[in-house]
């Protein structure tokens, strides 16, 4: 498993590398000392795992994650940041408190390896498009989520924002639907209309609609109209 360490302090990075020597399954492919460097390295090295400090000069760890398309597994490393960590749902994240204890690190590593195992069954798309197995980082106000695209029913554009539908949450992210559409794997996600992108694995039923369009009902009850222009394409895809 390829890991990238992101921390502004050299000694902190060094200490973590030393601790990770005990875990040969984790291969450290790089060290970044700020968010800018990290974003570049994530895109170049495509790591499976980030050890990420929250407080850094320039951008914080959260801002870094917001700028990434697909987010690898993330383990936050922080000295004392109850406040920042509370933003997450319980069990939704892994974090290590500095000074990092070897036992805690071992637990975290095995947890991550388990997660990785269950994920690797799916094929990673070679063109780096976002598939169902990828996760994204969503921050809305004070709350944060790591969302597996598997769980996202649909994306809805709303002005300059996109509403992300998953579970009972609909946080907004600052992106354009067109930009997102280009990054999503077209085998998993479909641009239903100007306003919507739907997750094909969530489609429950399809009905004919006015003007040659379609009305798609998603598991969970959301209904989305497929425009006439896209309807033919949609029928093609669904009928194989």
């Amino acid at each position: 498993m390829k890991a990238l360490i992101v921390d502004d302090e050299r000694l902190a990075r060094k200490e973590l590398m030393k601790l990770l020597e005990e875990h040969p399954s984790i291969e450290i492919v790089g060290e970044a000392m700020n968010a800018e460097e990290a974003i570049q390295m994530v895109n170049e090295l495509n790591p499976d795992l980030l050890f990420l400090d929250i407080q850094m000069p320039g951008k914080t760890g959260f801002q870094l994650l917001e700028e990434l398309d697909a987010v690898p597994f993330v383990v936050f490393t922080t000295a004392y940041d109850e406040f920042a960590l509370k933003a997450f749902e319980v069990n939704a994240l892994d974090y290590l408190l500095k000074p990092i204890q070897a036992d805690r690190l071992s637990e975290t590593v095995s947890k991550i390896l388990d997660k990785e195992k269950s994920k690797s069954a799916a094929i990673r798309s070679a063109d780096k498009k976002l598939g169902l197995n990828d996760q994204v980082f969503v921050k809305d106000g004070d709350r944060c989520w790591f969302v597996s695209l598997n769980n996202v029913r649909m994306f809805e554009s709303d002005g300059n924002y996109i509403k992300v539908y998953f579970d009972s949450n609909r946080p907004m992210i600052h992106k354009s639907l067109n930009a997102l559409d280009e990054k999503l794997d077209e085998r998993a996600f479909f641009r239903a209309s100007r306003k919507h992108i739907i997750n094909l694995s969530w489609v429950e039923s399809i009905e004919q609609w006015f003007n040659g369009g379609l009305m798609v009902k998603l598991k969970g009850g959301d209904k989305v109209e497929v425009s006439r222009r896209q309807a033919a394409k949609f029928k093609d895809m669904m009928s194989l």
């Binding site: 302090e9 050299r10 200490e15 030393k18 407080q55 408190l97 000074p99």
Partner: protein
Amino acid sequence: MVNKKRLYWTLQITGWLSYVLLQIVFYNFSNESGIPLRRIFFFTIEGLICLGVTHLFRNYVNQWKWLNLSVPKMMTRVLPTISVLGIAIYFLRVPFSILFNIVTVQRVAFDPRQIIIGSSFYIILLFVWSLFYFTYHYIARYNKSLKYEASMIEIELNNLKNQLNPHFIFNALNSIRALVDENPVKSKQAINHLSNILRNSLTFEKKGLTKFEDELKIVKDYLSLESIRFEERLKTELDIHSESSKFLVPPFMIQTLVENGIKHGISKLTQGGTIHVKTLVDKNRLKIQIRNSGHLLNGARKGKFGGTGIKNTMQRLKLLYGDEASFRIVNENNNFVLTEIIIPQFINTA
């Protein structure tokens, strides 16, 4: 200060005015023929004499700081003084009593019995005046000390929460642990720095002020630890005036401001920056200037993170020195933030 002076004069004037009026009314009722004008003049002048004497007495009390004395010590000074003053008032009014024909036979005024009775009356009057004056001040002082205590407790709590912030301690420990392999000698020094800071923070609540050198040592220990953590990103410069050691300073105050500068300034900069601590001594005042790379955002003082450290500092200065100390934090130019405190050499006890 202005309000206190105003209150003093209001009470003095209304007090003696009512004394004069009471005298007039009382005289008017006890004499069937009513009160002659010369009597009214005389009572007014008597009131003015009392006002003058008590005012001089009050200045004397302030000058010799009798309010700071314990009650028995104060009494042994006040009682003889008001006795002398009582006799003085008696004789001061003698020329007027003759002038206004109050005493028809001149020698009656110098009759020993008359002197004793007359003076005793004024001594009692002065005693009542002192009772009011000293009681007021003792209560005011007690209130102030209660307020002070309450604020100190609040500050201590805030200190526990903020000043030695856990983020700093755990980051320091983390760097030290990495340093153990890399540079064992340096890591031992770092442990000394950290333990010195921790020890001082534990004893600090017990003292109101500390020697400048002790505070400077804490600042140096703190900067050494942060230098280990930030490495080449943190440059430190100290420029200490040789007479600074004559001063006492509130413990951990300079350290807090230096920490603020690093936390909100340098740690936010990718390239790092410089922290510069300078002291100047001018006319029994110590000026401490802390400059750090960075930029103070508008309203950062009231911000979520910047608030408590600065608020605490201002509160402590106010409590310890009243208006004698000053504090400011400004953008000195585009690259540096200046934090400056000016403190007097002695605590103002008045």
